[in-house]
Every structure is written in structure tokens, then in C-alpha cells.
Assembly symmetry: C2
Homo-oligomer: 315 residues x 2
């Protein structure tokens, strides 16, 4: 009998656990709060329980599983199966999650950082199907990425390859959460869009963005919404975003020379507003042979990329 | 009997051809002018002749060769063995150099772009020995690079991976020869150092650089020389160069997460003047796990890297 894959997308606020067949169809999935504040022992118990719960809902049992894949925030050591110390999982310090869960569940458990897992998911089930040299990037609160080289994930010397969000695109740029100045993430993440909007408002820009942010907290969604309504300052911010994406993607082309780059994450849901200006920037900035050989597409797996990517670790 | 490797370093001004054993020792090498202005047919004849000449000098014959490796400026298509249209080889337009030379010489011929060949050379015979995830960059008139991933050259979808010189480190930067603004090469190449010096002189900087450039043409060497003599403006330029190198190398770490990065090319001969400030910049800019796992070293093969890299293509 064909075995079922179980994918666990471990996040700072929620755990998504899904059963997936080998073609990437989700059979059943559930979502529970992480309760990260209770620490690693409790969170791992919740992961274990979520696996049993989703199996129960699908009328399956643990022996039907090929294994459990976990996509976790980094830093982590995928080879040793250890989560090191993710900023949004307080109290985690070199937790051997693979050993603990494989012992508890009695099945194979695999670990990868969430962006790498998503890259594998898109490669096997989504926008990277059949593409040997493929890059996935996710643009949401931060920017992460994963790279498939000659058909396989390349994770680097210590699982930190494709830290695309933390490469410098303007060394005179704003400070990034990582401490560096001018990171791709500091210019082009959803958080950065919101920060640029907030700065504009503080400097007295005439914009409806503030009115859309009803609780006073400006988010990137408000900027896109205002731009759709014709707000000039918001349009300028969206144009800048498309330009910054174009710079970062041109750099991805220079380093990896891939055949396809897929963009996922919250910001990519505004694809139509960003695409033209982004491609225009790439055309100006990337080397011609690198740009000509490479398609830039929207990722396909949407919100399911976490679960599907984690499940794909078992293939 | 162990066969001998022949490496041809095809440049815009000279062709270096050498016989190399499988351990990377140069048995004999010669250098002739390329005479690029005479066009591809004549240049290929000169390559053929240089192979026979170096064999004669070594008392060997064509049947002693395992083959001939050619390192050429890009763009080229390594898989098809075609040189496309390098700016410094005028008149070359999709020249099937591998077919032509293997037919003429009757031995296996391999082609790779010069920076990739150099990366293979340093990986097999120099600073990258035994290092599976290794990046080589050359900093001279331009900046090129090659990347070894899991022990093998990664050349990308159409032989243009690791175009490290043409990734943007400051999108508000100076225009690069490639047309983009703010490329690593436009900030950190030898040509860029000379350009910054020239601009300073034009703006009335009090510096001895101009006096050192006796024929009025400022070169990067003059800047390093003036800095050694205590010239303040030259020292500032050298410090800036070290900073720019640090930015580019931090980006290499973010993308490839290698275990070692080796720097070759003319600018690297000023290693002692650049190292401290470059490493200080990397420490500030690179992600900690990426920086901690990676050594930055001077390349080992020096002027022989072209011939040794080309020969290494046969291994």
C-alpha cells in the first residue's frame, strides 16, 4: 500500500499539520495554536498530538505514514535534526526535535528550515515541477528562500544557503533586523513596505494609508489597498517595492543562473500590481543571458506551501 | 603511462599554454600574443600552434596528451563548446571552438569560461583543495567568479552562474560596463579603484597618486603604492575597497554558504592592506552562522591559475 506523508509546518503562532499523498494532494489538515510561550517540551507535545488528531480525522493510523516532515523557522541544523534558537520560538536552544519525535511516534522524522522545505514543496508539487535549477523566495514579514540545484536542495555548508533576505542590495540602506544595513529584506519585505509608509505618514505625506489602518498599525496590505484606490504616495511605495524586488531577483539570477524563480508569501498575492515594474527592473539590471533563460513566476502552493513542503521532505 | 594535461588560457591580449601533470605541476608553459584583431580563425590557428610548440619544448607528442582544456572569456556555452561573443575577442560570433580544435588536434577538447576554470583549478590544485563548498573570485580589471557545490562546478542553466561581479551591492551606485548601476564590479574591481582615484584628482584632492601615474593614466597599483607611502586620500580609497570587498563577500556567504572563499586576481596581491578591514566588514554584515563556517583566504595559484584551471577541466 502507498504510504501517506505527514507535513508539519511549525510557526511561531500556529502549527499546521497535514496528510499528503505522494502527488501533493492534501488529504486532511488541521491548524492549532503553537503556544510558543510554553516552551519546547509543550510545543513538541502539541505537534505529536496534532499528528494523532489529523490521522484520526482521516480515519488513518500511524503505521499508514511514511514519516513526518517538519518545516521549522531557523537557525537549525537539518543534518543533525536540531532546532537551534529561532527568534520566534522562545526558550528553544539546540532542541533535538527529530530524535524526540521519531522516538515518540515510531516513524521517520525529517527536519528542514521552512523556506528550504517550501522550495522543495514548490519543486515537487508546484511552480518548480520538472525544473532542475530553481529558486523559491517568500516575501512576507521577512524574506526567505531555498535553492534547488541540479534537482536537489542545496543547503550549504551549515544549512544557511539561500539566505536571500540578508544579502545587501544597498549598503547605505536602512538597518535590518539581522543588524546589517541595506539587506534585501530591509527594503522589500512586507514589514519594510509598512515601515516606509509609516515614515511617510510621520513626515506629513498626504495619504489615505493611515485611514485604512484603523487601529493605527500600518501594514503592507493597507499600502496595496490605498494604491488600488489611486493614492499617489501608496502608488509610489508599490513602485518602489517592485523595483526592490527586481534588484534582489536580478542578484539571484547573477548568483544561481536558474531556469525559474517562484515568488511566494503574502506580498506575492499583489502579483498584478508588482509584475510589470519588477520585470522592467530585471531587464535593466540583470545580465542578458541570465535574464533570458529565466522565468519569474508566482508560486503555486499558496497557504499550503508549509505543509506540502514539510511533507515533501520525505520524498 | 599517465597522460599529460594541456591547459590553454585564452585572453584578449595573450594565449598561455601549459603542460600540467595530474597533481597540478606545470611541466612547461609558453605565452604568445593573441592577435585578437586578426579574428577567430587566426586565433584558433595560434592556439593549435601553441599546443604543438609547448609539446616540442617538453619533448612530448600529441598522443601523450589526455586532452586540451580551454579557459576563455565569456559569454560562452560550455556544454556545446561554443564561444559566443566575448567583448575582448572581436569578430567571435558563436565559434564552435571545441569541435574545430578537437578535429585539428585529434584529442579531447573541453571549454569553460575563465573564471569557472580558475575555480576548478583552485579547487583541485590550490586554495580549495578538499573543500566541497567553495567559491573562487578574481578581482582585477573586472570581477569574476566560479562556485563549487558539493565538489562539482555549478555553472547554472546556461553557464552563467556565479556572475558575482554583476550583482548589485548598491542600486544607487556608479554605472557598470554591463549597463547596470552599482554592481560589485563597479565598486570593487581594479578599474573601479582607478576610477575613484581619477575622480578624486579631478575634484582637486591633494594626493601623490597623480605623480605616481607617470604617463597620466591612473591604475589601481598607483593607489596601493601611494597608500603605502602614507597618502591620506589613497588610504581612504584602499579602506573603501576593503569595505566593498567585504559587502560582496558577505553576499556570497548569504547565497552559497560556502566553507571557503578564495580571492585571486591583481587586487588580491595587496592582501595585507585589505584583509583586516574586509574581515571587519564581513563580521558586521554577514549572518553569524554563514560567517563562522567560512574562511576567506588568498588564492594560491597566482598567475598560473589560467593554465592550471584550463588543464583541470580534463579531470
Amino acid at each position: 500500500m502507498v504510504k501517506i506523508l505527514c507535513g508539519v509546518d511549525l510557526g511561531g503562532t500556529k502549527i499546521s499539520t497535514g496528510l499528503v499523498d505522494e502527488k501533493g494532494n492534501i488529504i486532511k489538515s488541521i491548524k492549532i495554536p503553537t503556544m510558543a510561550e510554553k516552551g519546547p517540551e509543550e510545543v513538541i507535545k502539541r505537534i505529536e498530538q496534532s499528528v494523532y488528531d489529523v490521522l484520526k480525522e482521516a480515519g488513518l493510523k500511524i503505521s499508514d505514514l511514511k514519516g513526518v516532515g517538519i518545516g521549522s523557522p531557523g537557525p537549525l541544523d537539518a543534518k543533525r535534526g536540531v532546532v537551534i534558537s529561532p527568534p520566534n520560538l522562545p526558550g528553544w536552544d539546540n532542541v533535538p526535535i527529530v530524535d524526540i519525535l521519531s522516538h515518540k511516534l515510531g516513524v521517520e522524522v525529517k527536519l528542514e528550515n521552512d523556506a528550504n522545505a517550501a522550495a522543495i514543496g514548490e519543486h515537487l508539487f508546484g511552480a518548480g515541477r520538472g525544473i532542475d535549477n530553481f529558486v523559491y523566495i517568500t516575501v512576507s514579514t521577512g524574506i526567505g528562500g531555498g535553492v534547488i540545484i541540479q534537482g536537489k536542495l542545496y543547503s550549504g555548508e551549515n544549512s544557511n544557503a539561500a539566505e536571500i533576505g540578508h544579502h545587501t542590495i544597498n549598503f547605505n540602506g536602512p538597518r535590518c533586523n539581522c543588524g546589517n544595513y541595506g539587506c534585501f529584506e530591509a527594503f522589500a519585505s512586507g514589514t519594510a513596505i509598512a515601515r516606509f509608509a509609516q515614515e511617510g505618514i510621520q513626515n506629513g505625506k498626504d495619504t489615505m494609508i493611515r485611514d485604512l489602518a484603523k487601529d493605527g498599525v500600518v501594514k503592507s496590505e493597507h499600502v496595496f489597498e490605498a494604491a488600488k484606490l489611486g493614492d499617489e504616495f501608496a502608488e509610489e511605495l508599490v513602485d518602489n517595492e517592485a523595483f526592490y524586488l527586481g534588484v534582489g531577483i536580478s542578484n539571484i539570477m547573477a548568483f544561481y543562473n536558474p531556469k525559474r524563480i517562484a515568488i511566494g508569501g503574502g506580498v506575492s498575492t499583489q502579483w498584478e500590481m508588482l509584475y510589470d515594474k519588477m520585470m522592467e527592473t530585471i531587464k535593466k539590471k540583470a545580465l542578458k543571458p541570465n535574464a533570458e533563460v529565466c522565468e519569474v513566476v508566482k508560486a503555486e502552493l499558496g497557504e499550503n506551501v508549509g505543509v506540502l513542503g514539510a511533507a515533501a521532505l520525505l520524498l
